[in-house]
């Protein structure tokens, strides 16, 4: 209810500047009816509605309102402890300037600035400055899956960066979060993007636990071109579990027990190194080989994950196949997975077949293989409306032969309020069944 009140207040606020001028509205409604059963055999039939829209005068020197949320109602049996629930994903007003990439947003929003990748109810501002400098600041109440109330919860921080366009950017960031009025996280970050050669770029982040004064993680990526038909990706990271997971392990409420390890050494230090090679042959065909190695300092052991995939992406037809192996230190940490799919478009209709197989080296519940086969059929009525029906066959260590189904209706809307209504979605609107902008 609180979220709805926030959304209503923001809607009212953003509508004020448009009472005398035209208002562009574009968005998408997605409705899902899912049929399946839980592991104890209970049938469920949840109906989901996802709604997202943007209203306002987009462009430079513009103010706009952005909304996204979903609601679920169980038509048969209760699925997740309540017949109905939902979530306000975001609802914020943004004011943008035509110069300096300056923007001020407030409401429920996401902040991605250096160390911060946070959802909050609050405000966020950023702008370019003279000399290649950029500053960003944010503050508010964090939106997290919290085991307690939001009373006394706060988060704030910012990032300062400096760079030369197309050459490099280096940034420093800070985040401080309180839970129930007590310190929860104090983190600092260093982020980097550098392009020393036209076909080489290096980027990544180092995060530092300002509470314990130790590094949490270094995570870096290098890409070597020429990119259009060949790419070499190199990845490396080092993670100190004690520091990286410290916030969820040392707080009063033990907020996330999945990361309060009982079967992993909480002092483990893991170094990951790996990469991938992607080669595009003649346009539609891409071949990718990938490999990762995990080195565990405390356990004094290692694991590898590697394999390859082939993808064909032509006009109206696409197909792919992938094969990977996870090779952990013990039998119970090893599996092979394979995937094959095809997609074919026939006029306004399209068909998808997708098959995933996982083979566990050590059987789980006396079952070694997990199969998931999906058949989906879609029909595009118009640029605005599309329907998809799918059937999924599942057999795995928890479920012996189950058939699930889902019906999905997508509707895009786009209108100019206070002016003539448009008949087709704009370039920025989502295409049914296609990529959403």
């Amino acid at each position: 209810m609180r979220a709805l009140r926030i959304a209503a207040s923001l809607s009212l606020l953003v509508s004020l500047p448009f009472t005398v001028s035209a208002l562009d509205l574009s968005g998408q409604s997605r409705t899902y009816l899912q049929s399946g059963q839980s592991t104890d055999g209970t049938r469920y039939l949840p109906l989901y509605e996802y709604l997202s829209f943007t209203a306002g005068k987009t462009g430079s020197d513009a103010v706009s309102f952005h909304f996204g949320g979903w609601y679920r109602y169980d038509l048969q049996n209760e699925q997740f402890g309540s017949t109905s629930t939902g979530d306000l994903q975001y609802a914020y007003v943004t004011l943008k300037k035509s110069t300096g990439n300056s923007a001020l947003s407030f409401g429920r929003l996401w902040v991605n600035e250096g160390i911060a990748s946070a959802q909050l109810d609050g405000a966020y501002a950023r702008t370019d400055l003279k000399g290649g400098f950029t500053i960003a600041a944010y503050g508010g109440s964090p939106v997290e899956t919290d085991g307690d109330t939001r009373s006394g919860d706060s988060v704030y921080g910012g990032r300062v960066s400096q760079g030369l366009p197309g050459i490099y950017t280096i940034g420093m960031s800070y985040l401080q979060e309180k839970n129930d009025g007590k310190d929860f996280r104090k983190e600092e970050g260093l982020d980097l993007w550098v392009r020393p050669l036209s076909k080489l770029e290096i980027m990544g982040t180092s995060s530092y636990n300002a509470e314990s004064k130790n590094w949490m993680q270094h995570q870096y990526h290098a890409a070597v071109g020429p990119f259009a038909w060949f790419r070499l990706n190199l990845n490396a990271s080092k993670t100190w579990y004690k520091e990286y997971f410290s916030a969820v392990n040392t707080t009063q409420s033990m907020l996330m027990s999945a990361f309060s390890f009982t079967n992993i050494d909480p002092n483990e230090i893991v170094t990951m190194a790996g990469g991938s090679i992607a080669i595009t042959i003649g346009g539609p065909v891409t071949v990718i080989a990938d490999y990762r190695n995990y080195d565990y300092q405390v356990m004094n052991d290692s694991a590898t994950y590697g394999g390859g995939s082939v993808v064909y992406a032509g006009a109206g037809f696409s197909a792919g196949a992938a094969l990977h192996r996870m090779n952990g230190p013990t039998d119970d940490l090893r599996y092979d997975d394979q995937r094959v799919y095809v997609f074919k478009k026939i006029a306004k209709a399209d068909i998808t077949l997708d098959f995933v197989h996982v083979s566990y080296e050590q059987p789980v519940n006396d079952v070694s293989d997990a199969y998931t086969g999906t058949a989906a059929a879609g029909y595009t009525f118009s640029p605005k409306a599309r329907i998809v029906a799918d059937v999924e066959y599942v057999s795995n260590p928890d479920v012996i032969r189950e058939v699930r189904g889902m019906l999905n209706f997508v509707y895009n809307f786009d209108a100019k309020l206070g002016g003539a209504a448009k008949t087709a979605p704009s370039a920025g609107a989502a295409k049914p069944g296609g990529k959403k902008p």
């Binding site: 899902y32 400055l129 990526h221 890409a223 792919g320 199969y371 998809v388």
Partner: protein, 147 residues
């Protein structure tokens, strides 16, 4: 001089410098929308020859988009609205992203197939990869077993 006074003076000076630098910044903002409509997975190198060539959305894009998104978010916003990111990056989500887009198999979506059993292995070997999405957010269903 007390610590509070020093903090206030330094904060005020920093704000003044920021205001002066802001007033001097006259660079044009990036456009709100990409000037040309892009269909399907964009191959930036088809038109661009500068640093944007590295942002080609090829088949390996999903595994490396996090780095570009962290550094080039304003560039992402030219084509993508918040709704696009929210499909996977959410605080509370019940539908797997791959379940929402079964008619788009070419899109790399996390947790396809039997991930319930697979996550027990991936989670032990690389829990840090789970944490950005399930650490502080989107972990209600994790708690049903991890108590």
């Amino acid at each position: 001089m007390s610590g509070t006074a020093k903090t206030l003076i330094l904060g005020s000076m920093a704000m003044m410098i920021a205001v002066i630098l802001f007033a001097c910044a006259t660079t044009q903002s990036l456009p709100a929308k990409h000037p040309m409509e892009v269909q399907g997975m964009p191959v930036c190198s088809n038109c661009h020859t500068d640093w944007r060539t590295a942002m080609d959305h090829r088949e390996d894009w999903a595994s490396r988009h996090q780095f570009s998104a962290a550094q080039q978010k304003r560039t992402c916003e030219i084509c993508h609205t918040q709704a696009f990111c929210a499909d996977c990056h959410a605080n509370k989500e019940e539908l797997k992203p791959s379940d929402k887009y079964k008619d788009a198999p070419q899109r790399t979506m996390p947790h396809r197939g039997d991930y319930l059993n697979q996550h027990k292995i991936d989670g032990k070997l690389d829990p840090a990869s789970c944490f950005p999405c399930h650490g502080y957010k989107n972990n209600e269903r994790c708690r049903t077993c991890h108590r």
